[in-house]
Amino acid sequence: MEVKEIIRQENMVYQRSSLLTSKPFSYCPGCGHGTSNRLVAEVIEELGIQNDTIGVAPVGCSVLIYDFIDIDFSQAPHGRAPAVATGIKRVLPEKVVFTYQGDGDLAAIGTSETIHACNRGENITIIFVNNGIYGMTGGQMAPTTLPGMKTSTSPYGREVATMGTPLKITEMIAHLDGVNFVSRQAVHTPAAVRKAKKAIRAAFECQINKKGLGFVEIVSNCNSGWKMTPVKANQWMEENMFPFYPLGDIKVDGKLVKTL
C-alpha cells in the first residue's frame, strides 16, 4: 500500500518538501542541522522561489547542504560565504541569495565578511546555525562556546580570563543599519520549529521585498561535539545556551524590538 492510499490528499497536513533530494542527511542523529536544512527547503518551496534561489554553502558540517536541497549552490571557503553571496547578488540582483553557516564559519574566521556584508546592507539572507562548537573538525572551542564549557581545545572548560567570553555576533549585527530583520530561534521542539520557520520565511521575504539583509540565528545542538545523547544535548541547550542566547525576534522591519 502506498502513502497516498492511506492518507487522502485532503487530510494531508505535512509532507516532505519536493526540494529535498533523496540523499540521506550526513548529520549525526539528533543534530539540529537536519531540521534547519529542511526548514530552508520548505520556505524556498512555499515562497515559490526555487527557480531563482542560489545558496551558498559554508565549510562546516553543513558543507554538503547542496547535496540535500535541489537548487543551485556555490560552496564557499571557510568564513567567506557572505562575500561569495555578495558577489552573486551584485551581478544577479533579481535572484534570491542566501548563506547557511555555522558559528565557527560566521563568527570566527568569517567575522569580517559577516559584519561588512551586514553593514553594506547586502540584500541577502543569512541562516546562522550556532551550536557553540566546531562540529565538523571534532568539537573544538568556538567564539560562541559558553564559559566553562568543555571542548577538545578547552578540555578543562572555557576560561574567560584567557579565552574571552562568547561572542554575541547576532546582537552586534542587529545594530547595523543595513540589517532589516534579525531573529534568534531553535529547532529542538515542534513549537520551536514552527517559530524558526516563520523567522526564516520573514528573512527571505525581507530580501524578496528588497528591504535589506535578513539574519536568522538558530541556536542548535552538537550532540557529538558536546559528547551527549541527543535528548541530553537538547536539555543542556535549554538550560545553558538559551539563557545566554535568548530566543525571539531582535529586529523587525529595521527596528530593534528587544533591548540589547
Partner: protein, 356 residues
Amino acid sequence: MKEFLLMKGNEAIAEAAIRAGADAYFGYPITPQSEIMEYLMTEKATERTGMVVLQAESELAAINMVYGAAGTGKKVLTSSSSPGISLMQEGISYIAGAELPCVIINVVRAGPGLGTIQPSQADYFQSVKGGGHGDYRLIVLAPSSVQEMADFVPLAFDLAFKYRNPALILSDGVIGQMMEKVELFKPIPRTEQFDQSWVITGKTPDRKANVITSLDLEPLPMEKHNHHLQAKYKKMEDEEVRFEEIMCDDADYIMVAYGSSARICSKALQLARAKGVKVGLLRPITLFPFPKVRIAELAQRVKGMLSVELSAGQMVEDIRLAVNGKIPVEHYGRFGGMVHSPSEVLEAFEKIFIKN
C-alpha cells in the same frame, strides 16, 4: 578612426576592463595599483556599461566576491599588488579547483612582507607555480607596455573562459605607473556567448542543479578531477604559449626577460650590438604556459642565456629546466624595489659571459 590616448598602465587596464565588457570588479586599495578602482569609479563604469564596481573590506573578501560572481558565468575581475595577492591565494585555489573563469591583476611591488611600493618581479613563483594550495596553474600574461596592459584584458578574459580557469595579468609598478600612448580597442558589449551549462543562475525545471564546488570527500574522484585539471594545463602548454623574439636568429647569447625588465633588456641589447656582441632577447608573454620548447630549441645553438629579472632569480629556474644543462644559464637583476639600468644589464652580461 583610431583612438589614441596618453594613459598610465593602471588606467589602461581599467579602461580596457570597461571596454572588454566586464560585468564586475571587486577590489581593495593598495599601491601601486589603486588607480584601477579609482579610474573605474571616476569614469563611472557602472553608468557606462552597467558593470558592478565594489570596494571590498579586504582582498580576502574581494577574491571571494569574484568567486561568487564568476560562478554565475559573468566576466569578473579584481586587481591588487603583492601583499594583497598573497591574501587572495586561498580563494584563487578554490576558483581554480572549481574551474571558474576570472581575471586577476597583480601590479607587483617588492617584498617580502610589507616590502616597499617600488616595482618588482619577485612574485613570479607565486604566479606561475600555483600560489595557493593544491596542484593548479593560472594562465599568466606579462605585459611590457601600457598598450599591452589594455590589450591583455580582453585576451585574459578570452583565455579564462576558453579554459574555465583564472587568468593572471602579472604587471609591476613600472608598467602600472608609467604613461604611454595607447590605442584603445572598440567596446565589446556585455554579452555571454560561451557555454553556460555550468553556471549558477537559479535551477530551472529543465536542468539539474548546478553546484560550484572544489570539494570531493572521496580521494578517487578527487584524483580524477586533478587529472582533468592537469590535462587542461597540458593543453594550455601545447596551444597557448606566447613570446616575442628580438634578434634571436643570429644571436650567440640570449637574454630572457619579461615585463618591464624586457624593456630594459631591449635597450641593453642595442648597446651590446653596437659593441658587436650578438645578443638576442626572448620575451615570454605567457609565463604560464612558459615558452620552454622555444628556449630548448635556442639552447641548441647559442652559447649562454641570461635571465634578467627584478628579483633574486626565479624565472631562471624554469629556463634552466628547459635548457636541461646544455648551456650555462645565469641570472642578473636588481631587486627589493631597485630597477636595473640597461648599462648595468650589459655590464653583468659581459662579466658573466664575455670576460671569463
